[in-house]
């Protein structure tokens, strides 16, 4: 790949200070560093560094959602691929403009958001709404707070929240009929819109979706949230690589299951399955809970940093989801629960850090 490096080296002066296209330097830098690792060397101690960098971390998240992306493509057709492309185009434009204005490099963070965002949207959503949603999410939730690493809220969730508050009718009427058979919907552009909605919405009307279908994924729902099996597969990979912390996942799912179980045992919550245990598992698999727990709430930037904080963070998200699903007009509450968790995360950190600093004060 020496020739490519030569091309890049030859093009560099055009994008540097004094060159014609210096305004596009962040874009050039992002491309250059996509292909070639930087040539920076350590100065002074420590003289070596770990091979892990942010690009690798973000690639791990992308690899972990690949099964969900392929499933969404199979179930909901070519439009889903278009949604990814639109997300990337709109989001990267906002990202690049900010990088140019701030004279900083383009960060890797968006590449993950760009994959996650279409996965949490109804698959038949108009493409302009997809673009609007991601632009809003990146602009308001990330760039205004200072970019990757400084955002309080998960940009993908803010984008989705914005869409579901701004266009509630379209959002709840854009579900699609999942494909089946050998090719599924992979060759179809216009997938039939489904009016009877997701398993959770159907359950409120007393129609219970089969547990096996929810496990495999041929049900209606947001593009990436339908197959519990593939989400767990990707999620376990993410836990294994330690990019996602197991504490938040365990406490979200644990607190959700416990609270749902208690409510069902007391008769406050409907039981879609004959046993309480089966019903709890049904609720865990329904809607976006698994996707949110594995891929959204584990975002290290918007979650708490401290390990103790992560436990409480998970409990807040898990129990809020149960409460929203059961006691409000909304059928689904994961988005709101995680955003609430994002708000609380810095406070949790502050409390935990306060305790730790008090303990540190006693050290010799």
């Amino acid at each position: 790949m020496k020739w490519l490096l030569k091309v890049i080296d030859a093009a560099r002066p055009t994008f540097e200070e004094g060159g014609k296209l210096r305004i596009l330097n962040p874009v050039f830098g992002a491309l250059e560093h996509f292909f070639f690792a930087p040539s920076t060397r350590t100065i002074g101690a420590p003289h070596v560094r770990d091979p892990l960098d942010l690009k690798r971390v973000m690639s791990m998240v992308i690899i972990s959602v690949v099964p969900c992306v392929l499933a969404a493509f199979y179930l909901f057709g070519l439009r889903f691929l278009a949604m990814i492309i639109v997300t990337y185009a709109a989001g990267l434009t906002v990202e690049a403009i900010f990088a140019i204005v701030r004279k900083e490099g383009i960060n890797e963070g968006f590449f993950v958001t760009g994959f996650l965002f279409p996965l949490i949207l109804p698959p038949n959503l108009p493409l302009w709404m997809v673009a609007l949603g991601v632009a809003f999410g990146v602009f308001i939730a990330k760039e205004l707070f200072g970019g990757t690493g400084r955002n309080i809220f998960n940009p993908a969730l803010v984008g989705r929240c914005f869409l579901s508050l701004g266009f509630p009718k379209v959002m709840s009427a854009s579900w699609a009929q999942p494909g089946h058979g050998l090719v599924g919907n992979m060759l179809t552009w216009n997938v039939d819109t489904l009016t009877s909605a997701t398993p959770l919405a159907a359950a409120k009307q007393g129609e219970i979706t089969s547990f096996v279908h929810m496990f495999l994924g041929n049900i209606s729902g947001s593009a990436g949230e339908t197959s519990a099996f593939l989400i767990i597969l990707g999620g376990v990979f993410l836990l294994f690589t330690r990019v996602a912390n197991w504490r938040s996942v365990a406490s979200i799912l644990g607190s959700f299951a416990i609270l749902a179980g208690v409510l069902m045992a007391r008769g406050e919550m409907s039981e879609p399955m004959p046993t309480i245990f089966g019903s709890v598992l049904w609720h865990v698999f329904a809607g976006g809970l698994l996707f949110g727990a594995f891929f959204m709430a584990t975002d290290p930037v918007t979650g708490p940093t401290t390990n103790a904080g992560k436990w409480f963070y998970g409990i807040i998200i898990g129990s809020t989801t149960v409460l929203i699903r059961n006691f409000t007009g909304y059928v689904e509450g994961v988005t709101f629960a995680i955003l609430l968790g994002n708000i609380v995360a810095p406070i949790l950190d502050e409390i935990v850090i306060g305790v730790r600093i008090r303990r540190l004060r006693r050290e010799g």
Partner: protein, 483 residues
């Protein structure tokens, strides 16, 4: 009652991580050929030998003091061999020409000794010998890392036979043929103390050699054995002191490694100067990583010529985590040098490095295929291996920190210019091991930031102290005037 009789004391550690670098020095010691010229650096990590005691062209014997450091209890820079002094031949060095091995000064002159005996008593003589024969320079204070006062009384002594950083001289290599000298050195150390304990930090491994040392030590009631897991940086004196529950405000803690104990033995048993060093030479680009027997001032050039084949390599004084790269200005091995580590400079930029499976790169994280494989020694370079990014709060730095502080938090405080909060977060507990910088996926040099903040806070405190002194003096003067 048991632990008073040399039983192992259990302590808890946290954090830490071993970086497995290729080119670990083997357990042999090679003797380098006698040099013709010696270049003795006037500066080392802790010392600045600013007071020159010899004249140009003066003929000195081995063991003569060439210079001393007035800020560090006059610790001397000894001539390792006899030779002719050249003061101006190289900047910041004393050069010895026509070096010969003969006529080593055997003893401190009788007359001098009786004078000291009158001044300081018998215990004082021992301490004087340690200082003037070059053994005292191996002593550290656990919390300040400075040279402790040779006439002071410590609250405890920590002796460590471990060296866990890649790569510095291995304790077991030093001990191999000198186990008796080591135990005799410990006895000498004990004779300087009254009732204070000596903690002996040993690897928690079960080898024949380790058992041999254990059985030797078991007889000493005053030596408490401390079994330490072989994870960097558990051999750090400050970590050991803190894990033992020793406190900063209860007085100095003398810390000394294997080479220091051997030097104590040589100075107090034979009354001979400690001028021979065993220095490791290891890392990538070294022919056969090993240990070298050299004297301070030995030309670095000669060692590089003989052992290093990598032309574009960084040669580091010490290990890869805390060592300093030798500058072109430094010509000889310093008195405090413990190892020479060679690390190739980054040359080629890697194509699509971040999506490679990574079977051959070991990482603290589990994001590479290598996490499915047993730990292995890797060919590191000086590459930063990624771009500088904002902190993403991955918490790796806190996990790996052996001191139990939160580097990411202090980094955030510094970003917001909150020095006082950084002080509250106990940045002063940092032991400067460098692991937080190593693991950071955003490539933030956290270690450097922590060290700089520590220095800044220390400086501010000193300024406040001096200001108070000045005010007090001014008040006294004005009081005197009114009287």
């Amino acid at each position: 009652m048991n632990h008073f009789f040399g039983e192992a004391k259990k302590v808890k550690f946290r954090g830490g991580y071993n970086i497995l670098l290729k080119g670990r020095p083997d357990d042999t010691v090679k003797v380098m050929p006698e040099p013709k010229v010696l270049y003795l650096p006037l500066r080392s990590e802790r010392f600045k030998f600013s007071e020159i005691l010899v004249k140009e062209a003066e003929r000195v014997n081995g063991g003569d003091a060439l210079a001393k450091d007035p800020d560090n209890y006059d610790v001397p820079l000894l001539a390792p061999r006899s030779g002719t002094v050249r003061l101006k031949a190289a900047a910041n060095h004393i050069v010895l020409e026509n070096v010969a091995r003969l006529d080593e000064r055997a003893d401190i002159a009788e007359e001098e000794m009786s004078h000291i005996a009158r001044e300081m008593g018998a215990g004082g003589i021992k301490r004087y010998k340690l200082l003037s024969l070059g053994a005292w320079q191996f002593f550290y204070d656990a919390f300040t890392r400075a040279l402790p006062d040779p006439l002071g009384t410590p609250q405890a002594v920590i002796v460590s036979t471990l060296s866990l950083e890649p790569f510095v001289t291995r304790g077991d290599v030093l001990l191999q043929k000198r186990l008796l000298n080591f135990t005799r050195g410990l006895e000498h150390l004990q004779s300087l103390l009254e009732y204070q304990p000596i903690y002996l930090a040993m690897p928690d491994i079960d080898s024949e050699f380790a058992n041999l040392i254990r059985s030797h030590i078991r007889g000493y009631a005053w030596a408490k054995m401390l079994e330490v897991p072989l994870i960097y940086p558990y051999d750090n004196f400050e970590i050991l002191a803190r894990r033992l529950g020793l406190r900063r405000d209860k007085g100095p803690i003398w810390c000394v490694r294997t080479e220091g104990v051997l030097a104590v033995d040589r100075a107090l048993t034979l009354t001979k100067p400690c001028t021979v060093k065993i220095v490791s030479v290891g890392g990538i680009g070294v022919h056969s990583p090993t240990h070298l027997k050299v004297v301070p001032g030995y030309p670095i050039e000669k060692i590089i010529e003989e052992y290093v084949f990598e032309p574009a390599a960084r040669v580091i004084d010490g290990g890869i985590l805390t060592g300093r790269a030798f500058t072109a200005e430094t010509l000889g091995i310093g008195v405090e040098c413990r190892g020479i580590t060679v690390l190739p400079e980054l040359k080629e930029r890697e194509f699509l490095g971040f999506i490679r499976p990574g079977w051959d790169r070991s990482s603290y994280s589990d994001c590479f295929l290598s996490s499915l494989r047993k730990r292995f020694a890797e060919r590191y370079t000086t590459g930063v291996r990624g771009e500088l990014r904002p902190c993403i709060a991955c918490n790796f730095c806190e996990e790996v920190c052996p001191a139990g502080i939160m580097p990411y938090l202090i980094h955030k405080y510094l970003y917001a210019d909150l020095i006082e909060e950084a002080e509250q977060a106990r940045v002063d507990l940092c032991v400067e091991c460098g692991l937080c910088s190593y693991v950071c996926p955003s490539k933030i040099n956290l270690g450097k930031q922590l060290i700089e903040t520590k220095a800044l806070i220390e400086k501010e405190k000193q300024e406040i102290r001096q200001e108070q002194l000045r005010q007090e003096e001014a008040r006294k003067q004005s009081e005197e005037k009114t009287e």
